[in-house]
Point group: C2
DNA sequence: ACCCCAGGTGACAACGTTGTCCAGCGACTA
DNA sequence: TAGTCGCTGGACAACGTTGTCACCTGGGGT
């Protein structure tokens, strides 16, 4: 048994090509191509012979060759932060749905919040000649994509803006949503409100902090430095930050969580405490209404973000030649109880 | 302005090729190829000239052509049920992680539980000449994949077995997990236990039902037909089924939910009722410990399933020539409270 | 009877890359 | 000094498909 023998059955070379089909059907190569692509100009009789050869040989068109020839791949790339994060599930699903509607496949990868990996992935997708790219930025410099965009790769940034480059962008209203969230807590009598958010490098984290500060300022309230903590969403980090705020001499009476991972950790922290602390989280999550107290949130609409992004992308692909757009998706405060707790000594 | 003028900047044809780079660097085509692929046999000086030309022109290798030439695409396909379902997030992430480790990209799509769409997707991926395929079956006949598998596409089925075809498979221990879940309820004194599961067409639903029946039989208990309800996971369907069981003359005192979607709906149903009803769910979910009572579940390990599947796939790609394997991933009962409620008149 | 036309069909080049193979050139050895 | 070796570099074919164009055949019009 030679090694050729072993490998031969796995060789792509053994796959039948149009040439093989043509030979078997006794027709020309181009005729097979016509049948495969449903082009007109083939007698029913010929077509039948070709179809028969196709099934007999188990032929399947090699899209790699087709793509090479046609230039368009009918696929779009999606670079996101983490496929396993519940925020991105509906988003990717929405992108996929739109892509499917346009006959395109979705190729995706997770950057794990690492700018280098984001770039590596995005460029790998460009090398595959995806027609378009939906990117949830991990880094803040996307100039590396400029040549690709110039070469015709429609590119849309979602959830966070592109860095140092002009491009279509779809964002949640992080600032407005956060302002509303904090205003909600203020309206319920809180004066000392803590904010625990994601790393300051991340745009949405900054925007949400800005919303928090703006709401506090609008109420004429000072913000103690100890009330703000930005960092990773690791549960341990969040727990430590929360404890510091809650165990201070003048503890906060309410917390505003900068994202869904933080909110979940805070729910766990707060349930171990006796003193009631109000909580509002940015981004909704499943079962938020079932924990007790039910968690008040600023809901985003990830599916809509995905749909909007993919929509913009395909507009470009269809030739829309307008300056880059920036769509802002509104957020919605959903009051469920945890934000309505009044401060103990209100 | 002619239409050529409008479209020209978006044409792939305008992208520089190795030929262009070679011309600019004053070297041969193959030398550029060597530099791009880091092959030896190029003087530092020449290499430098080529690198310069590459950056100057913004060249990026066209992987379509490379794929066509080499036969291998360095990408694997993933066909799942719904990207937005929290069960599949960690699973796809795990597959992606392994793929990345092998230098492969992930192309994926959702079948939406529709066999026709599953087939369409899987075959589209094969036409793209993915090296391998991870499929979470929606249908129960996968003979359509036989030619592809024969042609060398490594294929692994996950979560549900392949239909009418032999192939590597990775499953959760649905039967054993369900038996344990029901045994747990029995141990807490329940005798009338309801099972609400997914559509009977789905293999895991059948297996979980079998586990339920086996546990009941082992305890010498009859199963009333009214205690079993299989169907979609639509909340409305599940609510109706639950109400019928709970409002019967001889109501069930405990419920076993066949999957995570059903469990969540049941939690909502039960919290509106005064009489305590025990609940165990198949498949864990985030915050299961935070609702009250905390939900006892049979936990699966989707990440491990994904890793195992991708592992099998790459073993095949690396030439493993063994008969199809069937890996069963054990489940784990996590008692949190909801399963430990004793029947009112126990 | 001739010409023309239309529709069906096939030969051939091209897409951009990689593998094969050979040529050129400088250096080292006998 | 001549022969040889090793290394760099390039010409060319091939991967499987599609677009272009020309050929052929048969039928209808004059």
């Amino acid at each position: 048994m030679t090694d050729t023998a072993r490998g031969s059955s796995r060789r792509y070379g053994t796959r039948p090509t149009m040439k093989d089909v043509a030979a078997r059907a006794g027709v020309g190569l181009k005729t097979v191509s016509r049948v495969v692509n449903g082009e007109p100009g083939v007698t029913p009789d010929t077509e039948h012979r070709v179809q028969e050869a196709i099934t007999a040989l188990g032929f399947r068109r090699n899209d790699s060759a087709r793509i090479l020839r046609k230039g368009r791949t009918a696929s779009i790339g999606l670079v996101l932060e983490d496929l396993a994060d519940p925020f991105y599930g509906p988003l990717s699903r929405a992108v996929e749905e739109v892509a499917r509607h346009h006959g395109a496949l979705l190729i995706n990868g997770s950057s794990a919040e690492d700018p280098a990996r984001e770039q590596e992935l995005a460029l790998a997708l460009c090398a595959r000649r995806v027609d378009g790219l939906v990117v949830i930025p991990a880094g803040d410099d996307h100039r590396y994509l400029a040549p690709e965009i110039a070469a015709g790769v429609a590119t849309v940034f979602v959830d966070r803006p592109a860095g140092r480059i002009e491009a279509d962008t779809v964002l949640s209203d992080s600032f407005g949503g956060s302002r509303d969230a904090v205003a909600h807590l203020l309206a319920h009598g809180h004066r000392r409100i803590g904010f625990i958010g994601d790393r300051p490098r991340i745009h949405t984290a900054k925007e949400r902090l800005r919303g928090y500060r703006t709401a506090m300022a609008a109420a004429g309230l000072p913000v103690d430095d100890a009330w703000v903590s930005l960092g990773t969403t690791e549960p341990e980090r969040v727990r430590t930050a929360a404890r510091a705020m809650l165990d201070a001499p003048e503890p906060v009476t309410a917390l505003f969580a900068g994202n869904n991972r933080v909110t979940v950790t805070l729910v766990r922290v707060l349930r171990q405490r006796t003193a009631p602390v109000a909580l509002v989280g940015f981004d909704d999550f499943e079962l938020a209404d079932l924990v007790s107290p039910a968690v008040t949130v600023v809901a985003q609409d990830p599916a809509r973000m995905g749909r909007t992004a993919a929509g913009l992308l395909f507009r470009r692909l269809e030739g829309a030649d307008e300056p880059p757009r920036r769509e802002e998706i509104p957020t919605r405060l959903i009051a469920r109880g945890s934000g309505e707790i009044r401060p103990a000594h209100g």
